[in-house]
């Protein structure tokens, strides 16, 4: 006999993966952009 699965476990896990990965990518894109532009501005000042 197959045990009944709770569908919400799969829904919540999917949202956690999707939202977590998107949020991480957004933060990484913004931080790497800020770091690179700061480095360029410092190179211009030298």
């Amino acid at each position: 006999m197959r045990e009944a699965m709770d569908p919400w476990t799969f829904v919540v896990a999917s949202y956690a993966v999707g939202v977590g990965a998107t949020a991480t990518m957004v933060l990484w894109s913004l931080l790497s952009m800020r770091r690179a532009e700061k480095r360029r501005d410092e190179a211009r000042k030298r």
């Binding site: 999917s14 990965a21 532009e37 190179a43």
Partner: protein
């Protein structure tokens, strides 16, 4: 289009367009996911697990759109040698790979309750996995090419790889039509939909929201790569001028 290939003009536009895309995308995607999670109805056969569609389909679309962006930028780089084309291709790679991975993981999480298995080696799933490996290969080749030409551009080899890899996109799209598949046939095609409005609207809004986030990330990556190259060029010029004296 050639006008946008000027890095200074691109930066002027990207400075206001990037936060606009990112901010609007986050608001629209959050609203669509809230709608899909709490307000949209459960489906008659799939029950509550249908709510995964509001993440899975936008991720699949953007995984493929990312590679189409790489292919278009590669073509532009090979034919017109636009200075920003190689940068645009590099900027599409990470967001495209992330959304492809999200599509595969959410699809697997959907497959377990819907099909009774996490994974099947059918046309749709396998061609999507191939796309993820193509992204990894493209990123490795692009990085190697960048290191060998001293950071002057993405290079010809990644551009050719980007164009050749685009053959996988129609294979992904038509896989469920060409071969017997566990995966369902397309629910949304040009001009018509097999989905009821209660599922379709939050899905379309989620696709818009995630597309705006994707565009914001690509613009932010382009600004980062451009700034890195400008800093490198300035430091190299300075080192050369100091060596002359």
């Amino acid at each position: 289009m050639h006008g946008f290939a000027n890095p200074a003009r691109f930066l002027r536009i990207a400075r206001w367009l990037m936060p606009l895309c990112m901010g609007a995308g986050i608001v629209v995607a959050a609203a669509a996911l809230g709608w899909g999670l709490f307000l949209a109805p459960a489906e008659r056969l799939q029950g509550e697990t249908v709510r995964i569609v509001y993440l899975h389909v936008p991720a699949a679309w953007l995984g493929m759109a990312g590679w189409m962006g790489i292919a278009a930028a590669s073509f532009t780089e090979l034919v017109w040698r636009h200075p920003l084309a190689g940068i645009a291709a590099r900027a599409c790679a990470v967001p495209g790979a992330v959304f492809t991975a999200v599509c595969l993981v959410t699809g697997s999480l959907w497959g377990r309750p819907a099909w009774g298995t996490w994974w099947v080696w059918d046309g749709r799933l396998t061609s999507m996995l191939v796309l993820l490996f193509l992204y990894f290969g493209w990123m490795a080749l692009s990085q190697a090419s960048e290191a060998s030409d001293g950071g002057q551009g993405a290079g010809r080899a990644p551009a050719i790889f980007g164009l050749v890899g685009a053959v996988n996109i129609p294979i992904i799209h038509y896989s469920v039509i060409w071969w017997n598949s566990q995966h369902q046939a397309p629910s949304i095609t040009m001009g018509k939909s097999a989905m009821a409005g209660a599922f379709l609207w939050p899905l379309l809004i989620a696709m818009l929201g995630f597309t705006l986030i994707f565009a914001g990330c690509v613009l932010a990556r382009m600004r980062a790569i451009l700034a890195d190259r400008q800093a490198e060029a300035r430091l190299r010029r300075k080192a050369l001028s100091e060596a002359e004296f």
